[in-house]
């Protein structure tokens, strides 16, 4: 009787431990997966918004020759080339936060960096990257001052 009960108790404890361990692992995984899904959704949305925001470099805006007072739609291009005046107006006159709203990146931080073909920075606008929770980095190509340049857009939270 007692021997049987001992064996049963030990087995039960061992099985329970394994069961609880397994359940614990599954719950942990479930939680982890949910977090991952949320992050993925968030990243995909960030990717979408990043590309959308990057298009600001490939349109002229409205009006075509806007200034900080009359700008309706932001655009940094003229004649299919990045326009330095518009770039500087965005950076200096419109500013980071207003720009963020106009290009649909509310809730995110961002940074635009333009590199020439030798990877030298020719223009940068936005916050420097710091402790991102999620980061999206995309690359586009355009023409600036008669040369091919790459545009790196980083968006993070």
């Amino acid at each position: 009787m007692s021997a049987k009960g001992q064996v049963f108790s030990f087995d039960f404890l061992l099985a329970s431990s394994i069961f609880l361990l397994t359940v614990g692992i599954l719950i942990t995984y479930w939680v982890y997966t949910n977090i991952q899904i949320e992050e993925t959704r968030e990243i995909n949305e960030m990717i979408y918004k990043s590309y959308k925001a990057s298009d600001v470099w490939f349109r002229e805006g409205m009006p075509i020759y806007w200034n900080s007072d009359n700008v309706i739609e932001l655009g940094l291009e003229n004649n299919h080339r990045f326009n330095e005046t518009k770039m500087n107006m965005t950076k200096i006159e419109i500013g980071y936060d207003r720009t963020k709203t106009m290009i649909g990146l509310d809730g995110y931080e961002y940074n635009f960096t333009v590199y020439n073909m030798t990877n030298d920075t020719v223009f940068s606008f936005g916050f420097p990257l710091s402790n991102p929770q999620n980061l999206v980095k995309i690359k586009r190509f355009g023409i600036y001052e008669g040369s091919i340049v790459s545009l790196e857009i980083m968006v993070w939270v």
Binding site: F10, L14, T22, I25, T40, Y51, M117, I143, G146, I148
Partner: protein
């Protein structure tokens, strides 16, 4: 020991499950980025690259080694620097040579290398690869395409274009004409010839069908005596003369009086023209569009005029001024309407004319014009121009004595029926053989015909065939004919009616004369040589004769009369021959009846040829003068446009029809083809026509505008009786029917609507054309000077065949342009991108 084992197994099983779960989790590690996001990234990259190539200019990449070399080598000019790189690549690729394709590859590589290290870039055009950055196998591929047409290296994308206008000419060779109508007589004839300002005269030429020798006076100066040699009604030919250059000084600018002064007698011109060829700097002919003042010729003798005029549009009003002096009443017919008859000069107003004439009907037509004296037209003492072949059967049955009649008093009866019995002369029924009576009738016929001195008779006697000795050609020698008739002897044989018709037909070839055959037959057609008379499948000798008569009438204008001679004549066939031969048939079984028939036919055939006499009137006791101040004034809405800026007008003569379709007078009309350049616009075209003693009555044209032969003039539209109608020498062709390329014309004459007498080999097309001395904008050039030179050269090249010009004669208009695309393609240019890994 046993428990320990169980324990150990449980632990192992539980641990295994745990490890399995952990491994599963590790295996199903969450994919943080969706595959479509990867593709979206590729797609953005592809479009960015395509945009780079599309919007990057050559200027932007001029430091790239290949582009730099092309610039240094002069292959690429300053103009090319504004082209897109894509255009540059495409245009070199489309050049097609290995070198240019390599250039396209090198440019692509130099521009795209280093753009991205993560992806492979490929540029293709249609199915060919221009450039590929790597050969890694592609999995997910993004493609962006653009349909492109582009610029070509060396051609400017902006620059200067020019067009040119001719404002003057250095010189051109042009001609002025005067035309004489279908018949202008009779007496001396004057016409006004207008010469525009000219530098010098190159040639003066006359081509006239004249009735006699004449002296020519130019503005009153005697300019030579000219002999009639070639004017021939049979061949429908005209005399041609070049006037000696020593007489050129007699001409003036403006109106010149050309006087034909007949040397021997009052005579006529039956068609022709006078042409002065000169060098001039005048670009266009002077014209008053919508108004034509047609000057009538001066006629000094007897006014007898057959002519026509053309209404080149919708006729709105017209006026006629007849200035004449005459001792007999004068009439004027326009179309078939007499618009005037009287003794004094007159101005016929449009209200009078519109009441008499149908202006709508006259519009766009060649309108016959006839002016003359009634008294002259009624004259019948001239014009016997009949040719007739008299046929006689000489088969042996012509010896039969079976014609019931009293024999002619001047021959002795020599037989009585039946032919085998010899009857006493005293018997009342003594008769003559058929042949004896036929001879007598032939003589009666010949005598009546030759009673009119210009008529001619030929003889054909026939049996089973007609040999040379059976023929007496056409002659007016009565003795020859009577002698031949007296020699006729009947011999065994068969009747070949078609032989008789055919031989006579072959000898009646003069188109200027009325032509007849009198076919007598005492029996049926018994023979028809297959080689000569097509007899058809049933050996139908009668039909062969009928066919021959049809051909004689339809194609040769020969009327075939027939006589049923005695009781054995096949009158049904003879009737058919006459019906198809345009003649008459009569028959009799007795001599008296036959004698009446022969006399009747002879008088009818050999009588006055009124339709021919009109142009050879011998005028007596009539004097009249048509003064050259006479005119016909037409107001109309024209068919063609007024001159446009820079246009040059020229008169041109086409070749004679003899040079196009031979020397013959072709029935029903003479044809030829003229080729008109697409560079010219014909604004006036007319055919000349020497109709001889007939009326020019038809003109047909076949061009791309008509598609087939189309009649543009038919005298029969104005009436069946040509006698009262004018006779055009020039027949105008509506210009809308003259097109670039081949234009065939066929012109002919006749003496009534059922008859055709053929067209003259001397007829020709004369036309007025315009050439536009204007060229539009051409290629773009780097400098305005180059563009101007190009435009100047183009306009000179265009018109040098027609006029002499220098660069000073050309006005230039220059423009600057940009964005000129020189087509290559269109082609689908594609950028293909895929990830390297």
């Amino acid at each position: 020991m046993k428990k320990g084992f169980v324990f150990t197994m449980d632990v192992l099983l539980g641990l295994s499950l745990l490890i399995l779960v952990l491994m599963s989790i590790a295996f199903f590690e969450f994919e943080s980025i969706l595959p479509e996001k990867e593709y979206e990234k590729l797609n953005y990259l592809t479009n960015d690259i395509l945009n780079l190539l599309s919007y990057l200019e050559v200027r932007d990449v001029q430091n790239k080694p290949t582009v730099n070399k092309l610039i240094n080598d002069g292959v690429l000019t300053e103009m090319d620097l504004d082209k897109s790189v894509l255009d540059l690549i495409g245009s070199f690729w489309y050049n097609g040579t290995a070198d240019s394709k390599e250039i396209a590859q090198n440019i692509s590589r130099e521009i795209l290398e280093g753009v991205t290290d993560d992806a492979c870039i490929n540029i293709t055009v249609d199915i060919e690869t221009i450039y590929s950055s790597c050969d890694t196998p592609a999995e997910d591929v993004s493609v962006a395409g653009r349909i492109e047409t582009g610029y070509i290296p060396g051609k400017p994308a902006y620059g200067y274009i020019a067009r040119a206008f001719l404002t003057s000419i250095t010189s051109k060779v042009d001609s002025s004409f005067i035309y004489y109508g279908g018949y202008i007589g009779e007496g001396n004839i004057s016409q006004l010839l207008y010469l525009p300002p000219y530098d010098f005269i190159l040639e003066v030429y006359m081509e006239l069908y004249v009735g006699d020798d004449f002296d020519l006076y130019i503005n009153g100066y005697h300019s030579g005596n000219y002999k009639r040699t070639l004017s021939n009604p049979i061949n429908m030919t005209a005399d041609k003369w070049y006037i000696s250059p020593s007489n050129y000084t007699f001409f003036n600018e403006g109106n010149n009086t050309i006087l034909i002064n007949f040397t021997n007698k009052r005579s006529y011109i039956s068609g022709g023209y006078f042409r002065v060829m000169y060098n001039t700097t005048q670009m266009a002919h002077e014209e008053t569009l919508g108004i034509d003042k047609i000057s009538l010729p001066g006629i000094y003798g007897v006014i007898n005029m057959y002519d026509a005029f053309y209404v080149p549009g919708n006729l709105s009003s017209m006026e006629v001024f007849l200035d004449f002096t005459a001792n007999n009443p004068l009439f004027m017919n326009i179309g078939n309407k007499t618009v005037y008859q009287g003794n004094t000069s007159t101005l016929i107003s449009t209200s009078t004319l519109s009441a008499l004439l149908d202006y709508d009907f006259l519009s766009h037509r060649n309108v016959p014009l006839r002016i003359g004296h009634y008294a002259l037209n009624n004259t019948t003492d001239t014009g016997y121009v009949t040719d007739v072949f008299l046929t006689t059967s000489l088969v042996d049955v012509m010896n039969l004595c079976d014609l019931n009649s009293t024999p002619p008093s001047n021959i002795t009866p020599d037989c009585c029926p039946p032919v085998s019995s010899i009857c006493p002369v005293s018997l009342p029924d003594v008769q003559n053989a058929r042949l004896d009576l036929a001879k007598e009738l032939d003589k009666i016929f010949v005598n009546i015909i030759l009673n009119n001195t210009d008529n001619r008779v030929g003889l054909v006697s026939y049996k089973a065939q007609v040999n040379d000795e059976d023929i007496v050609p056409l002659t007016n020698d009565n003795t020859t004919l009577i002698t031949e008739i007296n020699s006729y002897e009947a011999k065994p044989g068969q009747r070949c009616l078609c032989c008789a018709i055919r031989e006579a037909k072959l000898l009646l070839s003069d188109p200027s004369r009325k032509k007849y055959i009198l076919l007598m037959s005492d029996g049926s057609a018994e023979k028809a040589p297959p080689g000569l008379c097509p007899i058809g499948p049933n050996d139908d000798f009668s039909q062969a004769a009928i066919n021959e008569a049809c051909d004689a009438y339809a194609n040769h204008g020969i009327q075939v009369y027939t006589v049923g001679f005695g009781q054995d004549a096949d009158n049904a066939v003879l009737q058919a021959i006459a019906a198809c031969g345009g003649g008459k048939w009569m028959s009799s079984t007795n001599y008296t009846g036959l004698e009446q028939i022969y006399k009747k036919f002879a008088e009818e055939i050999g009588g006055p040829s009124i339709i021919y006499q009109f142009q050879t009137i011998v005028s007596t006791n009539v004097n009249s003068t048509l003064h050259p101040e006479s005119y016909i004034l037409l107001n109309y809405t024209p068919d063609f446009d007024p001159y446009e800026y820079g246009e040059i007008s020229l008169n041109k003569e086409g070749k004679r029809l003899r040079d196009l379709s031979g020397d013959s007078v072709d029935i029903p009309c003479k044809n030829g083809s003229y080729y008109i350049s697409s560079e010219v616009k014909v604004v006036n075209a007319r055919m000349t026509s020497y109709s001889g003693e007939f009326w020019t009555d038809r003109l047909e044209i076949n061009s791309s505008a008509t598609g087939d032969w189309k009649n543009v003039f038919w005298l029969g539209d104005f009436g069946l009786n040509y006698l009262i109608l004018g006779d055009p020498y020039i027949v105008y062709i509506p210009v809308e029917l003259i097109t670039a390329g081949k234009n065939s014309v066929c012109i002919g004459s006749g003496f009534n609507i059922t008859n055709a007498t053929g067209g003259s080999p001397d007829s020709r097309l004369i036309y007025t054309m315009r050439v536009r001395g204007v060229v539009g904008y051409g290629d773009a050039f780097n400098t305005s000077e180059e563009a101007n030179n190009d435009a100047r050269n183009r306009v000179i090249e265009k018109i040098k065949e027609y006029v002499n010009v220098t660069t000073d004669d050309v006005d230039i208009e220059t423009k600057t342009v940009a964005g000129i695309q020189w087509l290559w393609g269109p082609s689908l240019l594609k950028i293909v991108i895929w990830n390297k890994d």
